[in-house]
C-alpha cells in the first residue's frame, strides 16, 4: 500500500470527532428547535408523572402510594426519553445527511462506517444524558420528590449500560432511511412504538398478554427500566443491579455487531440501486 493510501495516524479519531463537533454546531444553529423539543419533553414527562397524583384523587390511594407512583412513572418517562433520544439520534445518521443534502459528501469520505457511527453515537449519548438531566431537574422541582433512598449512581450506570444495545437497535433502524429515502425516517417510529408497548415503561409488563410479556425479555429497555427503578425506588446497589446489567450488555454484544452488519449490507444495496441521493 502506498503512503498516501494509509490512514494518517489519529485520522480516525479526528474523523470521529468531526461528527461530534458537527452535531454540536447543528444543535447550536437549530437552538430554537432544541428549546421547543425540550419544553415539549418536559411537559410530556410531567403530564405522565401527574397521573400518579391523579390516582390519589381517583382511587383514594394514600399520599405514600401516590408518591411511589409518581416516581415509578417519572423513572419510566425519563428512561424512555433517554433511550429513545439515543435511538432517534442514531437512526438520523443517514436521515440528517439526506435532508441537508450532504449524504454523498459524507459517504464518499475515507471514513469506516464504524468510525462514523462511534462519533455520531458518542454525541447522541452525551446529548441524551444532558437532555434527560434537565427534565429530571424540572421534575424534582415540581414534585418535591424524596430521593433520599435513591442510588443515583446506580441509576446512571444502568442507563449507560442500556445505551449500547439501543445504539445497536438504532443502527438497524438507520437502515430504513437509507433504503426508503421518502418515508424511511417515519418508518423508524414502528420500532420505538413496539418497544414502548412491550418494555413496561408506564406499567409492569405483568399486565400484558402472555405473548407480549415474552417479547419484553428481548427488549433492553425492560432491563434498564427494572434496574433503574430498583436503584432509585429501593436504593439497590451495583451487586443487585448486576442481574439487569449483564443482560443488556449481552444484548448489546449481539445488537451492535448485528446493526453494523445490516447497515453495511444496506449501504451496499443502496450503492447498487443508486439510493444515496439527496432529497433535502
Amino acid at each position: 500500500m502506498s503512503a498516501v493510501t494509509q490512514p494518517i495516524r489519529g485520522s480516525y479519531a479526528r474523523a470521529s470527532f468531526a461528527f461530534v463537533e458537527r452535531n454540536w454546531n447543528l444543535v447550536k444553529r437549530y437552538w430554537a428547535w432544541e428549546v421547543v423539543w425540550l419544553v415539549y419533553s418536559i411537559a410530556n414527562s410531567l403530564s405522565v408523572s401527574y397521573i400518579g397524583l391523579g390516582m390519589e384523587v381517583l382511587t383514594g390511594a394514600s399520599a405514600e402510594q401516590g408518591q411511589y407512583l409518581v416516581i415509578y412513572l417519572l423513572i419510566g418517562t425519563l428512561v424512555w426519553r433517554y433511550l429513545s433520544s439515543i435511538f432517534y439520534w442514531v437512526t438520523e445518521v443517514i436521515a440528517i445527511e439526506r435532508w441537508e443534502g450532504t449524504i454523498e459528501y459524507t459517504l464518499m469520505a475515507p471514513v469506516p462506517r464504524l468510525v462514523h457511527l462511534v462519533g455520531h453515537t458518542a454525541f447522541a449519548m452525551v446529548y441524551s444524558i444532558v437532555f434527560t438531566a434537565i427534565i429530571l431537574l424540572f421534575s424534582i422541582l415540581l414534585f418535591d420528590l424524596d430521593m433520599s433512598q435513591a442510588n443515583m449512581a446506580g441509576g446512571l450506570v444502568m442507563l449507560l449500560a442500556g445505551s449500547f444495545s439501543f445504539v445497536g437497535i438504532g443502527v438497524m433502524g438507520a437502515v430504513l432511511p437509507l433504503l426508503f429515502p421518502e418515508r424511511g425516517a417515519q418508518m423508524t417510529h414502528i420500532i420505538v412504538a413496539t418497544l414502548l408497548l412491550v418494555s413496561g415503561v408506564y406499567y409492569p409488563v405483568e399486565v400484558l398478554p402472555e405473548l407480549l410479556q415474552k417479547l419484553a425479555v428481548l427488549s433492553p429497555a425492560w432491563y434498564v427500566l427494572n434496574g433503574t427503578r430498583s436503584a432509585l425506588l429501593e436504593g439497590a446497589g451495583l451487586g443487585e443491579l448486576w442481574q439487569y446489567i449483564w443482560p443488556v450488555l449481552l444484548l448489546a454484544l449481539f445488537m451492535v455487531p448485528a446493526g453494523l452488519w445490516i447497515f453495511g449490507r444496506a449501504e451496499r444495496y443502496a450503492k447498487i440501486q443508486g439510493k444515496l441521493a439527496r432529497n433535502g
Binding site: 503512503a3 490512514p7 485520522s11 444553529r29 464518499m108 469520505a109 447498487i272 443508486g274
Partner: protein
C-alpha cells in the same frame, strides 16, 4: 504516492444499469394485465431498465484535465458517482491510482474529492464549520485546519465577514467556491468536478475556471471535469470524451474533435457542431439552461 503510476484514473468497460425488468407476478395475475396486452405474446413484461453507463473505457493521465461533455441524462454524473464510490458498477473496472474502487474503496477515497453541481453543505452551518467538518473527515490535523481554511477562503476571494455566516445566506457562486475550498483542504490528487460552474453567473464562472487551471498548474492535481458547457470544456480540458446515452461517442484533444465536424458551412466548427454531427442531437436543450 507511487510516482511510477502513469494514470490517475483507468475506467475499463464500466457499465451501470438502473431499474429492473418487471416479471410476471403469477401470484398477483391482475397486476400483470395491461390494456392491449395478450397473454403469451411477450408484451406482459414491462422493462424499466435504464443503461446509465454503457461499457465506457478511457484513461486519465496524471496531471491531466480530462473533460466529459454530454447532455443532461447522458451518464456523466453516474460515471462520476461510480468513480467516487457512491455507486457500485454492474460491470467493468475502475481504478484510481491503481486502486480498484470496488475492491479497495477506502484507498481510492483517500485520493479523491468531489465538487458536485449542488452545493452539498449543512445549510445552517457557516463556511468555517462546514470546512472544519470536511477537513476532519479527511484526517487533517486540528492545529492546522483553521489557518488552512482561512488561507484557502482568502485565495478564493471569500470575504472574512462571510466565514461565520450560515451557508444558506450566501449566493450560489459563493457556495460553489466554498465547495471547491472544501475539496482542496483534503489535498486530493484526483479532483472530480461534476458541472462545477452550472448555474453560476459569468464572473463566478470565470473565477472558478481560473482556479481549476491554477490547481492543475500549481498543485499537480488531476482533474476530471463534467460539463455541458462547450466553451468551458474547450478552454480547460486537455482531452475530452463526449458522452451520449451512457456511451463515449468520441474521445480526443479539443482541436482534434473539432476537426471531426463538417466545415462545409463556412464557419470554424465548435464542439457543439461535433456533438450534433456525432449524435444528431443538440448538446444543451433550452430546458437544460440555468435560469
Amino acid at each position: 504516492m507511487n510516482t511510477s503510476i502513469e494514470y490517475a484514473l483507468i475506467v475499463n468497460n464500466a457499465y451501470k444499469v438502473f431499474g429492473k425488468e418487471k416479471k410476471n407476478r403469477y401470484w398477483l395475475p391482475w397486476k400483470n394485465k395491461k390494456n392491449g396486452q395478450n397473454e403469451g405474446d411477450g408484451s406482459e413484461k414491462e422493462s424499466t431498465v435504464t443503461i446509465a453507463v454503457d461499457h465506457v473505457t478511457f484513461e486519465v493521465k496524471k496531471g491531466e484535465i480530462f473533460g466529459i461533455l454530454g447532455p443532461n441524462g447522458g451518464g456523466k454524473s453516474t460515471l462520476i458517482r461510480l468513480i467516487a464510490t457512491l455507486l457500485l458498477p454492474d460491470g467493468g473496472q475502475i481504478r484510481v491510482f491503481d486502486h480498484d474502487v470496488v475492491e479497495d474503496p477506502m484507498a481510492a477515497q483517500r485520493m479523491i474529492n468531489r465538487v458536485s453541481v449542488e452545493a452539498s453543505f449543512f445549510k445552517k452551518l457557516s463556511p468555517m464549520e462546514n470546512l472544519l467538518y470536511g477537513a476532519r473527515l479527511y484526517g487533517v490535523k486540528g492545529s492546522v485546519i483553521h489557518e488552512q481554511v482561512k488561507s484557502i477562503l482568502r485565495r478564493l476571494d471569500i470575504p472574512e465577514k462571510n466565514i461565520g455566516r450560515p451557508m444558506e445566506e450566501m449566493s450560489r457562486g459563493m457556495q460553489q467556491k466554498v465547495a471547491i475550498a472544501r475539496a482542496l483542504l483534503s489535498s486530493p490528487i484526483l479532483l472530480l468536478l461534476d458541472e462545477p460552474t452550472t448555474g453560476l453567473d459569468p464572473r463566478s464562472k470565470r473565477e472558478v475556471q481560473s482556479f481549476i487551471r491554477e490547481l492543475r498548474d500549481m498543485h499537480d492535481t488531476t482533474i476530471l471535469l463534467t460539463t455541458h458547457d462547450m466553451v468551458e470544456a474547450d478552454t480547460l480540458c486537455d482531452r475530452i470524451a463526449i458522452m451520449d446515452s451512457g456511451k463515449v461517442v468520441a474521445l480526443d484533444k479539443p482541436e482534434n474533435l473539432r476537426s471531426l465536424a463538417d466545415r462545409s458551412n463556412g464557419h470554424e466548427p465548435t464542439l457543439e457542431d461535433v456533438f450534433l454531427e456525432l449524435t444528431g442531437k443538440k448538446l444543451v436543450k433550452e430546458t437544460d439552461m440555468p435560469i
